[in-house]
Every structure is written in structure tokens, then in C-alpha cells.
Symmetry: C2
Subunit: 195 residues, 2 copies
């Protein structure tokens, strides 16, 4: 037996990435075998190598895709006028975007160490790229006198850590709606950098 009826490259490729994302997020990169991923897709392990040169590249592609998606989505987000409105937009965007893809978020800051130096540097660069966008907002706000932060670089990292943490506890259908979560975090962030 070989190929099953109706199977195509355009279908199997994305299904492999989706299965890998879920399994890596749930059990960790090193704990998931290529055979498990293949089984989740419904193919044999050998077939995966039509879509990725090796296991690490499969992980890298997931992380890269996530970071590109994140940055592109923020670029497309309607930007408010002035640092305060822009910061609010960032806070609400980051929470919403991350809650929509918790597995990818989880992966992106848990499995970086499984990349080789070159791949690691590529993802790390994208992450810094994203962080710089927040820091720019903070610096402009400080310059305009509407924010007060003793160190904008650290404020950036602190805010992102705080916001990204939402994915670790938020449960769909729980006590709070996404909008309410956005309200609460915006309240804290706004006050944390208030002039």
C-alpha cells in the first residue's frame, strides 16, 4: 500500500505543521518523536521528510511563522494617535493575538533552546524587533511627558512578560472575557508607566 486516496501535498504540509505545533506545545520538542507527529497526521514517519529536511527545521519553521505573523499583525493593527492610545492598542493587541494562538506562543518562548545558533539568532532577532516597537512607544511617551519610566528597556520587557503571562492561566469560557482581561491589563500597564 502507498498513498491514500485524495491526499495532496497542499493538505499534508499544513497538517504536519499543525500536529507538530500541538504536540510540541503539549509535551515539549525533545519529548515528541517524528513517528508521533506522523501518526497524528495519519502517515508514516518517512513521509514527513518530503516537507521538512529535519526535526529542528520543523520547529524553526513554526517559530519563524509565528514571529512573522505577530509582527505583520501588529503592523496591520490600527494605530492610535499619541503614545497613550498607541500603548493601549499594543496592550490589547498583544493579549488578543496571543490568546488566539496559545500553542504557538508557548512554543516561542519555551523551545528556543532547541534551535542551533543560526536559527536561534534569527528568531531572537525577530523577537527583539517586536520588542523595539513597544519600547519606541514608551520612549516617545516619556519624551512627550505623558509616561514616566526609569528605564524604558526594562519597562518593555516587564510589560511583555506580564502580558504574555496571560496565556498561562486564561481558559476559554472562564470567569473573564477576553475584553475584560484586556481592560484589567490596560489599567495596570497604564498606571505602571503613568507620569
Amino acid at each position: 500500500m502507498a498513498r491514500k486516496t485524495g491526499s495532496h501535498s497542499e493538505i499534508t504540509g499544513p497538517r504536519i505543521r499543525a500536529a507538530a505545533r500541538t504536540l510540541f506545545a503539549r509535551h515539549g520538542f525533545a519529548a515528541v518523536s517524528m513517528r508521533q507527529i506522523a501518526a497524528a497526521v495519519g502517515v508514516q514517519a518517512g513521509a514527513l521528510y518530503l516537507y521538512t529536511p529535519d526535526k529542528e527545521t520543523l520547529l524553526f519553521d513554526l517559530l519563524k511563522e509565528h514571529m512573522d505573523d505577530l509582527i505583520a499583525a501588529w503592523e496591520a493593527e490600527p494605530q492610535g494617535i499619541g503614545p497613550v492610545a498607541r500603548l493601549e492598542a499594543f496592550v490589547r493587541f498583544h493579549i488578543r493575538h496571543n490568546l488566539d494562538r496559545p500553542e504557538a506562543v508557548f512554543l516561542s518562548y519555551m523551545e528556543l533552546r532547541n534551535l542551533g545558533p543560526a536559527n536561534f539568532a534569527a528568531i531572537e532577532g525577530l523577537r527583539r524587533d517586536y520588542e523595539t516597537r513597544l519600547e519606541t512607544i514608551l520612549r516617545e511617551g516619556v519624551a512627550a511627558g505623558v509616561f514616566a519610566a526609569p528605564d524604558t528597556k526594562i519597562a518593555t520587557l516587564a510589560i511583555i512578560a506580564m502580558l504574555t503571562g496571560v496565556t498561562t492561566w486564561y481558559r476559554e469560557g472562564g470567569r473573564l472575557s477576553r475584553d475584560r482581561v484586556g481592560d484589567i491589563y490596560w489599567d495596570m500597564v497604564r498606571k505602571a508607566v503613568a507620569a
Copy 2:
């Protein structure tokens, strides 16, 4: 050949835990083999089983030890008078304590998923225990009118995520001293929950 001169149980046991902590933190639990740990200690893999029944228990002991240590250290910390002083003490304590043992901190929130249900629940309980201590401070402050937080449970998680994030970027001998980092984070936390 067998036992080397001067080797003792009281020495080898801690050395195994230390090596495991470092290797698990660096490469991840699943990616580290018992043979690697043994090699780092300078014994054969079989010898590890005099000190742990299996690999998962070795991880569990590290996580449990860390959480017990964290809670005990906070209990021993001089508590200020009133919610504001207590919150400041908590912020500075958490940063200082975590910066002193970055590997254990890393492990404690990255490798929980490698525990079985019972061990997982035990660590999770300790974590909640610790978080409750912060939430109590916040609730007392809100009741006293010195803090304003729309949701103390979420404020707790947000603050802890923010503070714990320090370990991901702080480098010894870098731009900022530990005390300065404490100052900056205390400034942000204080304002974030200000009435």
C-alpha cells in the same frame, strides 16, 4: 574498578542534583540523558539509581526543593508594616531570590509538564500557595484603600509574571545592579496597583 577514593553518599547526592539542575535548565528535561548527568558528576549511569528511583523523581525533587526553599525564604523575610511596605518587601525579595538561583527558576516553570499528575499537582499546589501570599497583600491593600486593582487575582499573576521575567534577561555584571533592578520594578509595581 569500582568506588573511587573519598567518594561518599553525602557528596554524590547533592552533586547529582546540582548537575541535573544545570543540565535540565540548559537543555530541557527530555533532552538530557541519565548518562549525561552521570558523566557530569563523574560516575556511571547506574550509580544515579542509588539516589533517585527514576528520572522523573529526580526532576520532581529539584522542583519541590525549589518551591519549599522559596516559601521558607519568604516566611523568614522581614515583613514591613502595612500593605505598601509588605508589597515592596515582596517585590524586592522575589527578584533577589530568583536572581540567586536562575536555573531552578527556569526549571520550575518550564518543566512542570514532564511530571506525572500526582507530582504535578504537588508542585502546582506549592506555587498557588506562594501566589496566595502576594494576593493577600494586594487584597489587604485594596481593603485599606491604599491599592486599587480591578481584580486582585489577575494582578497577582501579572506581577509575578513580570517579576519572574527578570531571570530571562538579567546578566551578572551587566548594565544594572540587582538593587537598581529592584528599584525599577518596585516603581512599576507600586504605580500599577496605586489607588
